[in-house]
Symmetry: none
Subunit: 237 residues, 2 copies
DNA sequence: GAGTCAGTTAACAATTAGATAATAATGCAA
DNA sequence: TTGCATTATTATCTAATTGTTAACTGACTC
């Protein structure tokens, strides 16, 4: 028998929301981890800037919390680097700053952070800020029905309609089309699709994506997924 | 089944960034190599000035680290020689200088170096300087849509449009035109094109580039690739 | 006029994705 | 719990595309 804890903070796919924290002080890392895990998030940690970037690219977390002062790339640098990549354009980023350090705060928000939290950290503040951020975004975006041309993709009802005709897709099929359609025209590398839809710890074979693409194409009846040989797939009407 | 490791320091095509180090002291060479390879860079070495020039022309690395004091052409000389060639106009160059030797430092920067690092080398400093240098450059230009006259080259959508008409290119064709168009007017040597598009371990025949150039010219319909006989190709409208 | 170098073309090889069926895993309902 | 139905993954084969080579041609240089 398997006991499942009712987790609050899960994303569309039912997976716990991933948070990556980068700070060079192990104690702070642990305090944050404890409090966020208690809330049902899945927490990963990095102890410097480079490790943060590395892990971000492995995990594609939903939120990244960056200490401003870190060895091997500070928080602002990490943020800048990640933001240059389309994959991290929409990732939430929070900075941890020393209370007094106003210039960092300003710089941080200019760099494209979504919020900042002053040290010393109060767990309560931390948790409520994180929750608030997710609420803000998820209420806007998640569960948002995508409408591209005559295709509507509704993640709430798990439904895709083509010219008003509703098509039922399986979970993976739906996640695949939802990902591609979230940025029409943009090419998603096979690798990228794998981490976004399958998760980074899952290892699946080469043909798995193809088969799912095929099923989606088949069910929808129209050709809205374009193959870019040797590169990946894109959504295009 | 293919497992791909996520490397941090890679360029658009997912290849590791190439660094060439020239120093006559094997120990220093090894220290630097170790620390940079740990960061995910691909490291090549040379033990004097002439070898450095030779390898630079074979590899077209992203960054060259030159010791000032070397037998068979010192670092400054090597830098000067390379800088006379357009192909190395934008290659990053870092000098290694003895702490006290200020005149070399000045000379180095005058000669067109992008940074210098004082000996004795601290691995931390080295790595952060190298990373910083790449950040400066790549954050500016990564994955950017190129727009030259009526031609747009969009690596995110993997599309080339001429007067708004979208043209579909194969992977190698796209990489070729993207490379050439990244510096319009500048001549790329055949050698350079080979290492940048095909990678330096791949050996292909003489006519391969021509054929690809031909296909691009054909598909785009306009003549934007100019042949410079005996030298290479350039992008030009 | 021999030699070099790139353009052209077609043929071949290698790579990559599509199709299909079989198997495994999962979920659901009786 | 069991069995059925759906979904996910893999294996294998096939088709198509893409990449490379070879052989020939033409232009230009010395």
């Amino acid at each position: 028998m398997k006991l499942t804890l009712c987790k609050q903070n899960v994303n569309m796919e039912g997976k716990a929301k991933q948070i990556l924290i980068a700070d060079d002080e192990p104690d702070i890392l642990e305090i944050i981890r404890y409090n966020l895990e208690k809330e049902g998030y899945e927490v990963h940690t990095a102890k410097d800037g480079n490790e943060a970037i590395e892990k971000a690219k492995q995990l594609y977390p939903d939120l990244i919390i960056l200490d401003i002062m870190m060895p091997r790339k500070n928080g602002v640098e990490v943020c800048q680097i990640l933001r240059t990549q389309p994959s991290f354009q929409d990732t939430l980023i929070i900075f941890l700053t020393a209370m007094s350090d106003e210039s960092s705060q300003i710089k941080g928000l200019e760099t494209g952070a979504d919020d900042y939290i002053s040290k010393p950290i109060s767990p309560k503040v931390l948790v409520s800020r994180v929750n608030a951020l997710f609420r803000r975004v998820t209420s806007k975006e998640a569960g948002k029905t995508l409408q591209i041309g005559n295709i509507a993709i509704d993640p709430v009802k798990f439904l895709v309609s083509v010219d008003g005709n509703e098509v039922i897709l399986a979970k993976k099929e739906f996640e695949l089309i939802y990902l591609l359609a979230s940025k029409p025209g943009r090419v998603f590398l096979r690798n990228e699709i794998l981490t976004q839809v399958w998760g980074n710890e899952v290892i699946v074979g080469d043909r798995t994506i193809d088969v799912h693409v095929r099923k989606v194409r088949q069910k929808l009846g129209i050709d809205c997924i374009t193959t870019v040989k040797g590169v990946g797939y894109k959504f295009e009407i």
